[in-house]
């Protein structure tokens, strides 16, 4: 139905062969759309992107969509059986352990080829953490279409794109400190409403 889809495995192999030291990971997609994505390491992302754009077989000359995604810290609870001394005798006791997988921000690029008419190839770049100044390399020097969209991800998610020529807020005002598309963002109460009115309603 859609344009010719590209084998993700092949693209991964091609990148790894062309860009030395680039780590590429395939993220399988469980939905019927079957659009699997490639996670690039930040160090080699620009080089890999240039390869994808200029390689005569792939020619992914068109970067359609850039989306920011916020992944919160995940708390994983698992039950583990441990041998412990209870009342002097060793017994098997069940314990719950909690571990936290740190969250991160993600920039997702959808690439197509206008020349070869195929796509999409989905690229993902991930930040180290969700802190202020979490960064990924900018792909605007490779595809100009990312210019406004990366600015938007910077504005609404707080992802800093290193190497972006003009990284400013685009939709919100400059003085704003927050990033409203983040999952843990809490909107400030309306100035006209008495304090607590929002909380009482229990609304979002």
């Amino acid at each position: 139905m859609s344009a010719e889809t590209i084998n993700t495995e092949k693209v991964k192999a091609a990148i790894e062969a062309a860009v030395r030291g680039c780590r590429v990971e395939i993220l399988p997609n469980g939905s019927p759309s079957g659009q699997h994505s490639l996670i690039l390491d930040n160090e080699h992302a620009v080089e890999a992107a240039l390869f994808l754009r200029d390689n005569p077989e792939l020619r992914l000359d068109y970067c359609s969509d850039v989306a920011g995604v916020d992944w919160l810290d995940k708390e994983v609870t698992e039950k583990v059986k441990v041998w412990k001394l209870v009342d002097g005798a060793e017994k098997e006791v069940e314990e719950t352990r909690k571990s936290v997988t740190p969250g991160y921000l993600e920039a997702v690029y959808h690439l197509f080829s206008m020349e070869k008419k195929h796509g999409p190839v989905v690229l993902r770049l991930r930040t180290q953490d969700r802190g202020e100044g979490a960064r990924v390399p900018s792909l605007t020097p490779v595809w100009r279409s990312a210019e406004f969209q990366e600015r938007e991800a910077f504005d609404l998610y707080g992802i800093v794109f290193e190497g972006h020529p003009d990284l400013r807020r685009i939709l919100m005002w400059d003085e704003l400190k927050d990033h409203p598309m983040r999952k843990d963002y809490v909107a400030p109460p309306d100035e006209d409403e008495p304090a607590g009115a929002v909380a009482q309603e229990g609304g979002r």
Binding site: S64, V69, K117, R144
Partner: protein, 382 residues
């Protein structure tokens, strides 16, 4: 050039040396098509720098959609590009269908094509009207365009209950099955449309003012258009053969015969002409679709609308909206709300090259160039 003239040039150069005039065009400029601003730096009449400023209409559409169910976002998509709610609906429905693997019945596919092509007709015709208005042709072409647009909106009203905010499509079909009378009326409208196009074209095509104001103005080179992700009529005016109706053949577009008009110069005149020609192709598609539309259900009876919970995964679906590639990127984590809901707004991304097209031109050309981009601020700002 005589010595006197040379000296005049020199003198003016001295007075203004290195001084740029900053002008803020908008946000309430009649030619900005909404609340949109351009920070322009001028040397005399020449544009040296231009930065678009937008976001005045921002309501965080994506966040609102992420806080509700999949179905709840459908009426909100109407408000993106409020001239073309039908195509917005389709793009969103298509993405959800991809995400959840929902099939669409034959008849619904045909109805979708019919309403989408009608949307394209009314979008292009009003855009040309606005463009003429921007050039100072006050009233006449715009009123001609709006007269035709109104007829199409009447059809939408009969079908969906609303002229502009149609909220018509659903995952797995369309909300209301069109009656035979409606289809007959649509057929009659499509039959009359070429005569209007002839009239409209005769009025404008060789108009001297139109030609002198648009030919060679706002030129967008082919390579830049591709690299900057420009889509829709603007891309094709620059000579790139890329129409998602052909490339993806989403829905049932592979069943219809139509051509993709291409421009040569990438200037404003070509962009105007491409839209004119695209309307003729839309009429062809409409004739075929209205002739071949089969009987049957307009909605998959098994499709779940309320409480739709796609299994975890993601999908990017896109269509050729009248403004360009309109895409929706959805991530599901198995809950009834989309974890991530992203709109790829064609008119915002087409603005990326506005500065490149205007540099070195005069202020009056900015107005015409912006008019030919075809922006709707509801979609740019979201």
């Amino acid at each position: 050039m005589s010595a006197v003239e040379e000296r005049i040039v020199e003198l003016t150069g001295d007075v203004d040396s290195g001084q740029l005039l900053e002008v803020s065009m908008g946000p309430h400029h009649p030619s900005t098509h909404g609340v949109f601003r351009m920070n322009v730096e001028l040397e005399g009449e020449r544009v040296m720098k231009l930065k678009p400023v937008f976001g005045y209409l921002h309501r965080n559409h994506e966040k609102i959609a992420e806080n509700g169910s999949y179905l709840a976002a459908m009426p909100f998509t109407d408000r993106l590009d409020y001239m073309c709610s039908m195509t917005n609906n389709w793009a969103y429905a298509l993405s959800v269908e991809k995400l959840a693997g929902i099939a669409v019945p034959e008849r619904a596919e045909y109805v979708r094509v019919i309403v989408a092509e009608l949307t394209r007709l009314q979008n292009h015709v009003s855009l040309i009207g606005f463009l003429m208005q921007d050039m100072g042709a006050s009233g006449t072409p715009l009123m001609y365009a709006f007269r035709e647009r109104e007829k199409i909106l009447d059809l939408f009203e009969q079908l969906s209950g609303t002229r502009m905010m149609c909220n018509y499509m659903r995952f797995g079909g369309v909300r209301v099955d069109p009656t035979p009378e409606w289809l007959a009326e649509a057929e009659a409208l499509v039959g009359r449309f070429p005569a209007f196009l002839d009239e409209f074209e005769q009025l404008l095509r060789e108009n001297e003012i139109l030609m002198s104001r648009t030919q060679g103005v706002g030129v967008l080179p082919r390579e830049l258009a591709v690299n900057a992700g420009v889509t829709g009529p603007m891309l094709r005016a620059s000579g790139v053969n890329y129409d998602i109706r052909k490339v993806d053949a989403y829905g049932i577009y592979d069943r219809f015969q139509f051509r993709v008009p291409l421009g040569e110069h990438g200037d404003v005149y070509d962009r105007y002409m491409i839209r004119m020609l695209e309307m003729r192709e839309s009429v062809k598609i409409l004739e075929q679709a209205l002739r071949e539309i089969p009987e049957g259900p307009a909605m998959d009876p098994k499709a779940r609308l309320r409480g739709l919970r796609p299994k975890a995964g993601e999908a990017y679906g896109r269509i050729e909206s009248p403004k360009g590639e309109l895409g929706f990127f959805l991530i599901s984590n198995g809950t009834p709300e989309p974890y991530r809901y992203r709109v790829r707004p064609p008119s915002m991304i087409n603005l990326t090259v506005l500065e490149d097209m205007c540099l070195g031109r005069s202020v009056a050309d900015i107005v015409v160039t912006l008019g030919s981009v075809d922006i709707i601020l509801g979609e740019v700002d979201r």
